[in-house]
């Protein structure tokens, strides 16, 4: 009876999870092995690994993988590092601390469209203006660069800049609270022992907040691999034309883009993304468990 009761309580959650998560997941796996699956007619021409072969040879997909990896490798360490520096600074000042905390948290509560507009003003070349950054570059005697429709590195720069800026507030929030929760007695003990500031940071602060840093790195990796909307906000919806597509962007294009209507390729691509994220997360967890404090 009590066993039955337990399952009864679990039923609503299981029902929703089953319908909206487990079933679609299984469906995606099935689609990815069915060739030329068509939504409208619910037909397919055969089964096998053809979809994976196609996706892995598609230059657009390879481009998307390359972009995604670059974004991940640049933005995750940089944003975590910058967030740590800012949090340390915030933690060590007394005056205006709340003001700065609010300022750093603003991007988190600001509408994405508004943020996109700000980046336009900063970077976009129009008939009337070269954008604020270009004005600055010119002021220091450089040549103006088209960041939105110009060379690949310029676009990548804007992309990474934007991604880092957008994820910073959350990381700062987590890290400042992690820093604040370190027992001040550790720092007092270190002071009595004459510990240098660098050593206090590397031997006390960093190990103490390492669980939070690992949390941020892991979620940061996952988030960056799923990058898509930020790219659209800057480069518009035709990411392939801009050469700035990401894996999730590729999946979306395959499903709904102009060329749209290829659920099989989309499923295969998303499964490949899943495999990548899964592998990297497992590696992350293994590293963090090895170094974590007991």
């Amino acid at each position: 009876m009590s066993k039955f009761k337990g399952w009864l309580y679990l039923l609503p959650a299981l029902l929703f999870l089953g319908i909206f998560m487990i079933y679609p997941l299984i469906d995606v796996i099935i689609y990815s092995f069915e060739e030329n699956f068509n939504f409208a007619s619910q037909t397919y021409s055969g089964t096998g690994l053809f979809n994976f072969r196609y996706v892995l040879r598609d230059p657009y997909f390879l481009r998307a993988v390359k972009n995604t990896f670059i974004i991940v490798i640049i933005t995750v360490p940089l944003s975590t590092g910058i967030a740590l520096l800012i949090s340390l600074a915030l933690n060590s000042i007394k005056a205006l601390k709340e003001l700065f905390q609010t300022v750093y948290f603003l991007p988190y509560v600001t509408n994405t469209l508004a943020v996109g507009l700000v980046f336009m003003i900063l970077f976009k070349k129009t008939a009337y203006s070269d954008g604020l950054i270009n004005l600055l570059i010119k002021f220091f005697g450089g040549n103006s660069v088209d960041f939105i429709e110009g060379p690949y590195w310029a676009k990548l720069f804007v992309m990474c800049f934007y991604t880092i800026w957008i994820v910073l507030p959350f990381k700062i929030l987590i890290l400042t609270s992690a820093l604040a929760s370190v027992n001040p007695d550790y720092y007092k003990a270190a002071r009595v022992d004459g510990t240098s500031r660098l050593r206090i940071f590397t031997r006390i602060t960093l190990p103490m907040i390492s669980p939070m840093i690992f949390y941020l790195v892991i979620t940061g990796f996952i988030g960056a691999f799923k990058a898509y909307s930020d790219e659209v906000a800057i480069f518009g919806s035709n990411l392939n034309a801009a050469g700035m597509n990401t894996i999730v962007g590729y999946v979306y294009d395959m499903l709904y883009g102009d060329s749209g209507g290829y659920p099989s390729y989309a499923s295969a691509a998303s499964l490949i993304l899943f495999a990548i994220v899964f592998t990297i997360t497992v590696v992350n967890l293994m590293v963090s468990r090895k170094t974590a404090i007991r």
Binding site: D185, A189, R191, D193, T195, S196, R203, P207
Partner: protein, 367 residues
């Protein structure tokens, strides 16, 4: 190394910003801690004990006054250059480092000509660990140790640089009763072996009295009395000290002095030569009562608690300022009945008389 506090004062701005007046945590302290002694700083919570300790360690800067270690004025010297070892109430052991790494941590901070080789550091860490008897636990982490073991590690870490002064902040408060007894003997032993001047803070008078060479009693940031534990217990300078020391606490009575005699109401207790007539407070230690059928003090018997060696008698008297009087007598002197009246005489040495307004002890002749 003797420690001298001179006019030491510490003021903190009031937390409540509407009140402009500062909070005075330590008010004009003047005393000298002799070299190589174990000193207990004793007082109720919030009396400024820990602040005093922090002023000695250098973690807090005094608002006024000076701190001397020996003849050196260390008032403006940073904690690391004072040569102090500090043990925190919660031990503050680094949880991600092993016992050995924790003990070696202060040594690894040494720079320049003081820098030690790895072998010397390990040797010193081992010596410190042996002193506190944790040398077989060197590779454990603090989380894998009991409270008492963590305490020892913290002491070893504080001792490894051979400080001039060892400071302990409520060293026993995080331990259970049995371990507390053991650890306080341990602290005494370590202090005797090293001969380092040691100051420890506690709110537990029993703890302070049992191991200190000298105790310092404070209240609300004000120095009350310093002396050997037994002396302070036997000759408290005022009512606060008398009430704070001793368990069970001293029994306080409203009394008056007439023609050289002490009266509780109509009961003529005993002669108190040298004290002027008038109303006073009288305090009698629990062990200061003697069962005596012809004794002057008559009480209503409420309860008798047999505790093996001693018997505790709970009784009442209208003059007593608290509801119950607690009396400790030797168990051989059994009571005949468990109710009705009981009479006591009072040991003169266990009686203290205080001025009714200043609460200062009034000196008697011949005590």
């Amino acid at each position: 190394m003797k420690v001298v506090l001179q006019n030491l004062t510490k003021r903190f701005p009031n937390r409540n910003k509407k009140i402009r007046e500062d909070v005075i945590a330590v008010n004009n302290f003047n005393f000298e801690i002799p070299d190589g002694k174990l000193i207990g700083l004793l007082g109720p919570s919030g009396c400024g004990k820990s602040t005093t300790l922090n002023l000695i360690s250098g973690l807090e800067k005094p608002s006024e006054g000076k701190v001397f270690f020996g003849d050196d004025d260390v008032t403006d010297v940073t904690p690391e250059n004072r040569g102090v070892g500090l043990v925190f109430q919660n031990y503050a052991l680094y949880p991600h480092l092993t016992v050995k790494q924790n003990i070696m941590f202060p040594l690894e901070n040494l720079k320049g000509k003081d820098k030690l080789s790895k072998e010397v550091m390990e040797q010193k860490a081992l010596e410190a660990a042996k002193l506190v008897q944790i040398d077989q636990l060197m590779d454990r982490r603090p989380g894998e140790l009991s409270g008492g073991q963590q305490q020892r590690v913290a002491i070893a870490r504080a001792l490894v640089k051979m400080p001039r002064v060892l400071l302990l902040d409520e060293p026993l408060s995080n331990l259970d009763a049995r371990l507390r007894l053991q650890t306080r003997e341990e602290i005494k032993r370590i202090q005797l072996e090293t001969g380092i001047t040691t100051v420890f803070v506690t709110h537990d008078q029993e703890e302070a009295m049992s191991i200190s060479d000298l105790i310092v009693v404070m209240k609300d940031g004000i120095f009350q009395q310093m002396g050997k534990p037994q002396d302070v217990y036997d000759h408290p300078v005022n009512m606060f000290v008398a009430k704070f020391l001793g368990t069970p606490a001293i029994n306080m009575f409203e009394a008056c002095v007439k023609d050289g005699f002490l009266y509780f109401g109509e009961e003529k207790i005993l002669p108190v030569p040298g004290i002027k007539d008038g109303e006073v407070y009288a305090g009698i230690r629990p062990e200061g009562f003697v069962l005596d059928e012809n004794g002057p003090l008559s009480c209503d018997l409420k309860a008798v608690e047999v505790m093996g060696r001693d018997t505790s008698i709970v009784c009442r008297n209208p003059s007593c300022m608290t509801e119950n009087i607690r009396v400790i007598v030797n168990s051989d002197r059994a009571l005949n009945s468990l109710s009705g009246k009981v009479r006591f005489s009072v040991k003169p040495a266990k009686l203290h008389i205080f001025d009714k307004t200043t609460e200062v002890t009034l000196e008697r002749e011949g005590v």
